[in-house]
Symmetry: C2
Subunit: 632 residues, 2 copies
Amino acid sequence: MSTQQQHHQLSLSPFNLYSNRVLLKTLLHHHAHDHDHGDGAVSLVGQRVLVGGWVKSSKEVKNKPSPSPSSLIMDDGFGETTRNKDVSCVEILQSRIPLVRSIFHVLGGKSYVPRKKLEHSSQHPLKAIMLPQPSTVYLLLTDGSCVSSLQVVVDSSLAQPSNILPTGTCILVEGELVKPSSEGKHFIELKADKVLHIGTVDTDNYMLSRKRIPLDLLRDYSHFRPRTTTVATVMRIRNVLSFATHSFFNDHAFIDVQVPAITTTDSEGFSNLFKVTTLHQKADKEKVNSIYETEGVSLEVVKAAAKEKSNQVENLKRSESNREALAAAIHDLRKTNELASHLEARENKTIEASLKDDKVDSSKDFFLCPTYLSVSGRLHLASYASALGNVYSFGPRFQADKTDSAKHAAEMWMVEAEMAFAQLKDSMNCANDFLKYLCKRVLENCSEDLKFVAKRIDNACFDRLQQIVSVSPEMLSYNEAIDVLRKVEDKKFETNFECGIDLTTEHLSYLADAVYKKPVMIYNYPKEVRPFYVRLNDDGRTVAAYDLIVPKVGTIISGSQNEERLNVITSRINELGLAREKYEWYLDLRRNGTVKHSGFTLKFDIMVLFTTGLSNVRDVIPFPRSYGKANN
Amino acid sequence: MSTQQQHHQLSLSPFNLYSNRVLLKTLLHHHAHDHDHGDGAVSLVGQRVLVGGWVKSSKEVKNKPSPSPSSLIMDDGFGETTRNKDVSCVEILQSRIPLVRSIFHVLGGKSYVPRKKLEHSSQHPLKAIMLPQPSTVYLLLTDGSCVSSLQVVVDSSLAQPSNILPTGTCILVEGELVKPSSEGKHFIELKADKVLHIGTVDTDNYMLSRKRIPLDLLRDYSHFRPRTTTVATVMRIRNVLSFATHSFFNDHAFIDVQVPAITTTDSEGFSNLFKVTTLHQKADKEKVNSIYETEGVSLEVVKAAAKEKSNQVENLKRSESNREALAAAIHDLRKTNELASHLEARENKTIEASLKDDKVDSSKDFFLCPTYLSVSGRLHLASYASALGNVYSFGPRFQADKTDSAKHAAEMWMVEAEMAFAQLKDSMNCANDFLKYLCKRVLENCSEDLKFVAKRIDNACFDRLQQIVSVSPEMLSYNEAIDVLRKVEDKKFETNFECGIDLTTEHLSYLADAVYKKPVMIYNYPKEVRPFYVRLNDDGRTVAAYDLIVPKVGTIISGSQNEERLNVITSRINELGLAREKYEWYLDLRRNGTVKHSGFTLKFDIMVLFTTGLSNVRDVIPFPRSYGKANN
């Protein structure tokens, strides 16, 4: 039994949390569990609990005009019989009974309601006439521990209704669990008798006061996002995936190695890097831009053109009138996009070159040399694999890529594994097992969250996870994949492919989504599209790399057997024109006690996307970072 | 039973690793376990296994001059009796029996030894005369899974001895587990009959060829370090601490939130930050230096003076002659150090100011605004705590601090936790439980590694861990701590203290190491020495912050209840002159549904230091980063 499951079955007492409050999931899942067995919420009713959370929705019900205190006093003893016919009044009295009881309770025990006030009202009952009309506030409270909310009933004598009614108000209350006062979907509710904390809301400026805010708008309010049911659900699932990651590797005797974020090595050899520095800096973009301008080509202009052409294509697609015009427009768009990426690559190279410029005196920088944020930890992991055997790492990796792709962010968490004495097949097996394990754990531990996902985001989520657990991926070499894609007639791809050109995400997703309708593993990639450290196959053209592609999100794991032969890796570095001196430390591992080794990278954020059915990775990262986006 | 323990008890077959090799810990712990119960290695003898690893030490034993092949052939059938008296020859024959057996085995099964070669030698036995003198190589092999090594016996006919003898050689061998051929500390050894891989060593240039390299020298070879028994042991313990961290928080229903490394917010408000950029940069140090020079004070000169004075103090201490001269020298050194830190702080401020300079056009940078590497994730965590309740994070944090302190590195991993509806006491309880849990897990899961630590690094390691598990910390307010320290007479501190000045690590350690000889928790720090977000106490002078100080390493956990009151935190920000616009997102959390919250930070690397008894944090971080040190 997992520890998560244990929690659901914990008794409410003693409270196991450091704040003494009870997590709502303990109450509501406990309840749901009982209900399944037909005995309702019986075991909870009558228990006293302390709960805290934020108001999800609320309503205030004014108590029917109550008899004035004086009339109540005068009616004492026989008034009740005369009003028995008046059902509303009886209801009011009934609804007040628990309150009265709890006031006595308070007087007998520790009192939150200031003693002075209580004494006042008992000594001077007539003062009650000056108070606003009494009401009962019904709050749906969430504390982030589960999807469900708890209904909390607060009498207006305990808290000013206008303070606690707004969505987002924080409240900590103590009270008794009771059967709901009215029929509804709630099986249990909390009758509050102490209000220990109120965190009010600045209603006019609180953006979550609005209902149903689109996810993309929420991204600019990442500090508030987890208060929405959707993002909270995503984060709970993310948490289960995170712990499952560590459990899997721990179970398989992998050592967790924290590889550095700051590095001098560019593992991929062709990435856009963030520079880490303590020196003053100057914007040299003008210089770079001017280069293009003297050549008569501006990246901005080309990009604008590409956007326009993209709109044209969309319009033509919608009109469905002229197939040839559409084909021509797509061709045109493709050419323009190619030019744009060419220019962008050149711009990046120019910046790269200017970083290498003699004028930049990195010897005065903090590390006395240029340092970057790590793109991948696999080279560093390989160093530890060459000593400890099986190792893994789980941490942030960085790419200064300006793309607006829904699958990319500047800072993403990656799970990387590396195994000594392991070959391509071993890495594939481990990657498959790992993915299956993650899906299994989510299915076992996130049933309430997945139900919400199925209802609100993507009703296929259960099937998708179940398929990973039960089905093995289709195995295809890169060349076989191209053959399959060539035969596709009912779909026109935006990018044509030739051997040696990387299959785009469009192609890969089509194989998993449309052709096989299940995970696909593509291996033996052309060496041109994989980093220098991947092991060269005997054909001299392909390398021992693979991608595991799943429906809905595409590539989720990229793996490889890495090059253990010193002479081969050295000539690969030369071939690619990489700065060999930066890789000397890695070559050292090949010079001394080299070992066959293989591993893989799972894009953790994409895994969360796959699990939750959301489409943009920015919605599953706690504080997403991307071009122009970093606001906290 | 933990999963770690389960591994020790796994049967050798089926192999659970993706590479099919058996982890040495499975063999050697299995064995050790049996041995404890007195039945030796019986259950392992005769099993065939595949093991891989790196040579730790080796010896070659030349087989006694064997009779020439022709004489062996001629003696066939009756030669044995005539040589029975010659013990050495009998030994040789005995030692060859398994080899002969395994050759037959190889011929019958899959063969690694090239068939051609075997045919040659069987068809032309006389060729054996031309081969070098046969020998037996004894390798002590380690694969990083445990401290112990396995003795592997390789006949020279399987591998060129000169290729496999050097320390650091990687070898993958198959063979049979046998009782050791000679008496010694080994209870089992592997008689190799297939050599599947050899990764040779460039002996002249392989720095680990040397014996007993000091740890500080090893730091420049972080890619090779885990091949040493010490660093491998540290990394295994680190791994257990890492998984224990996740287990603790998972068990207590905390949600793992990956807070960003790239941030616009300086959580501490007074740290040296690394800047993250994609722009070209210029060294402006000259400008900064010139400022000092015009004022007639150079940081370099002051630093040099401080070093000289430090030497003087050391000399005086050693001579023990003149107490007054020593006191004066210490005073002088302190003044010089103060000047140096003052200058350094000013230098950093100048750089900081120049970063804010109008000329730096951050609007052209990747995020269109200045971004830094995160110093602390607690503000970001507070955002998620204000929605999900209890959250934690485990990741790298950064400080561009040039100090050479043994407790500091530029990139360190931190465990941060934040709890909604929790106050100072709750955070203290959670921090204590967490620390106890970590120590308990290490004691339970790292017994072999701790034995090595006790023998080679620090024989007090068991006691230190045991004390944390069994003893509660001494609780002292900051003022009480100062009172206690004032009364100390037998120790002269390098820094004097006044109330309001942060107690130095020297003072804190003295309380834990010398006064109480156990963990000490100091709380209610003066507000000046803690960040703006810590909750102000009712006295208006102190804040609800605490440090948990343990013997040997000092502060290991820093925690606090954080300010939930908008007006108080706003005035704290103004008081400290912080750039309020950077904290608006955080203030939003206080404006809307604010909640009492508290949490703590455990310095993970310091925890590893505490556990392993090492004294420099650079020796327990896989790839340490510090001023001038980043080489991969």
